[in-house]
């Protein structure tokens, strides 16, 4: 049994995609959980269902079967608008190709998730997060003026703006060279403790395993092995 309550839990989750006549079973009865302050790495070959699993955890898509619990609440059958609300308040995303908005400055990109929300002003937090990822002197730069590693650090700052419980990273180092990748991983490790956030990251890069607290290996939509350090 986990020492504290899992912030996210997948229970017997199946995800099937229908493409034409063919049905692809991307996830086959997957169980998974993560806790605050923990970094879980999902590793597996390309096409094994890692991204699909991350989308389930990130409430970007509904599972075909099984259930998802967020902070102990069953969110399996939430509507798109309810899921949006959960993502808005509790989940942060880091993508392989950063996905920053090119016309916004670093600070504005970090503020983006709360930009439509007039009830909070996250500007100060955005600046503080950018300082913490080492971009205090790049606040007004646009993504085009930043290197790949710097852009990914902006993306990490953005994922933390809403003080999430879970930070999801899909191949966060996939587009970065080895050294830059390591800096990003160090950054994530530090933030997971500072922010007490559960980090689930997906990779096919063994380098990440040096930083992780537990590893989930997935092949063909089936979880093969879970190892804890």
């Amino acid at each position: 049994m986990a020492k504290s309550m899992s912030v996210i839990e997948l229970d017997d989750v199946v995800k099937r995609y229908q493409s034409g006549e063919e049905t692809i079973e991307a996830l086959k009865y997957v169980d998974f959980s993560a806790e605050r302050g923990e970094m879980v790495t999902v590793i597996g070959p390309s096409g094994s269902g890692k991204s699909t699993m991350l989308n389930m955890i990130g409430l970007l898509d509904n599972p075909t079967e099984g259930s998802i619990r967020l902070d102990g609440r069953d969110v399996t059958d939430f509507t798109e608008d309810e899921l949006t609300e959960e993502r808005r308040t509790g989940i942060g995303f880091v993508f392989q190709d950063f996905h920053l908005l090119p016309m916004l400055t670093a600070t504005e990109n970090v503020e983006l998730p709360s930009m439509w929300d007039t009830s909070v002003d996250r500007h100060d937090r955005a600046v503080e997060l950018l300082r913490r990822v080492g971009l205090g002197d790049r606040l007004e730069h646009t993504p085009g003026q930043l290197s790949g590693g710097q852009q990914q650090r902006v993306a990490i700052a953005r994922s933390l703006i809403n003080e999430p419980d879970i930070l999801l990273a899909d191949e966060p180092t996939g587009n970065l060279d080895q050294d830059t990748g390591e800096t990003i991983l160090t950054e994530l490790t530090r933030l997971k403790e500072d922010e007490n956030v559960a980090i689930v990251s997906v990779t096919h890069d063994e380098q990440m395993l040096d930083y992780t607290d537990s590893t989930v290996r997935i092949v063909d939509g089936v979880i093969q092995e879970v190892s804890r350090e």
Binding site: N55, G58, L60, D61, E80, D81, T84, E85, R87, R88, T89, I91, G92, F93, F95, H99, L101, P102, M103, L104, L112, P113, M115, W116, R158, S159, N162
Partner: protein, 367 residues
């Protein structure tokens, strides 16, 4: 935010704006040109145009229009001038031996019917006479010379412009006070000077209803048909021009729709990110619609400025008064054009915006 999105793809925005501008210019300048054309036409044709001529009808007992009937007409037509006339004909003989046959009109409100070569016809002709310019030349008459009709002498007070022969009053004409024809009890014609062709038609119908029935014609009423035909032609013309404008609008609308669709397809991933980080569907929708409205307003503004220029040019050329374009009758097309631009942009933003907002974020992120 929306503003900057537009700034980002300048070419795309410029193309969309161009579509809008063409649409706006099409509707505005065609509309304004039509107004200019109408103004020019009615100022040129104004004189022949807008009269209603009343005379005694087939079934009348009297040989002319009675004073009672004129009073009744006066009561029906309160806004426009009612001008009763008695007519006859005479032959004038000049001192040089020339003779000229001409019609004689007895009328008080001379200014309503006649333009003089010099000066103005009197509002109330009490003494003196007006005579056609041509006739006066033939007879060698000058200002102040006496002319005789029915034993009475009148001094020539002015010369009537001869090109007025376009209307019903043509040829040589002598105009004297109505008292000069007092031996005629009834009036031969009554002219009602209406403000425009439509008003003339309307007055004509009103009088017809009042005096005549299906079977009996007490008064013969003619609203001058020349102006009506011209007016009808102008209506057809402006409908045709507005039709062309309408087609341009549809074309412009389709262009805007296309650009909005391309723009959302291109930004699919970006919108997916917005949705993933918790931006609500309604917020995405509003963002795209705001962009569309901004683009419409931008294109509309440029279009309106260009159209104002074209409109003023049209007015300058057709009526000689460029400022006429600023009059509401013509400048309202600028407002329509601008309204169209914003409306068409927002409308053509609705579908792409709705599509973008309802795209599942996963799908969008997969690219």
């Amino acid at each position: 935010m929306a503003w900057r999105n537009l700034g980002r793809n300048k070419l795309r925005t410029a193309l969309a704006a161009l579509g809008i501008i063409i649409g706006v210019v099409a509707i505005c300048s065609l509309g304004m040109a039509t107004v200019a054309l109408q103004q020019q036409a009615s100022s040129q044709l104004g004189d022949i145009g807008n009269d209603v001529t009343v005379s005694s009808g087939q079934d009348s007992d009297t040989d002319g229009v009675t004073q009672d009937q004129i009073d009744e007409i006066q009561n029906l037509v309160t806004d426009d001038q009612v001008v009763p006339q008695k007519t006859n004909s005479t032959t004038l003989e000049a001192r040089n031996g020339e003779e000229a046959r001409m019609s004689v009109t007895g009328v008080t409100e001379a200014s309503a019917l006649y333009n003089l070569t010099t000066g103005e016809a009197p509002d109330r002709l009490q003494s003196g006479a007006l005579i056609s310019n041509d006739t006066a030349n033939t007879l060698g008459l000058e200002m102040g010379d006496p002319v005789e009709y029915d034993g009475q002498f009148y001094r020539v007070q002015g010369f009537i412009e001869s090109e007025q022969s376009f209307g019903p009053r043509g040829g040589g004409e002598l105009v004297i006070p109505v008292s000069g024809l007092s031996n005629q009890e009834y009036y031969d014609t009554v002219t009602i000077v209406a403000s425009d062709g439509d008003a003339a038609t309307e007055i004509g119908e009103r009088l017809d209803n009042q005096f005549n029935t299906e079977e009996t014609e007490e008064l013969s009423i003619q609203a001058s048909s020349g102006a009506q035909n011209v007016g009808g032609f102008l209506d057809t013309l402006s409908t045709a021009l507005l039709g062309i404008g309408g087609i341009s609008l549809v074309v412009a609308g389709v262009a805007i729709l296309n650009v909005m669709l391309m723009s959302t397809v291109e930004r699919r991933g970006e919108i997916g990110v917005l949705r993933a980080v918790g931006i609500r569907r309604i917020e995405v929708l509003r963002m795209i619609l705001t962009e569309a409205a901004l683009m419409g307003a931008l294109g509309g503004l440029v279009g309106v400025i260009l159209s104002l220029g074209t409109g003023m040019l049209a007015f300058q050329m057709l009526t000689g008064n460029a400022m006429g374009a600023l009059d509401w009758s013509s400048s309202k097309y600028l407002v329509y054009g601008f309204g169209f631009a914003v409306l068409a942009s927002v409308l053509s933003g609705v579908y792409p915006a709705w599509k973008a907002a309802n795209d599942r974020p996963v799908e969008a992120l997969r690219g």
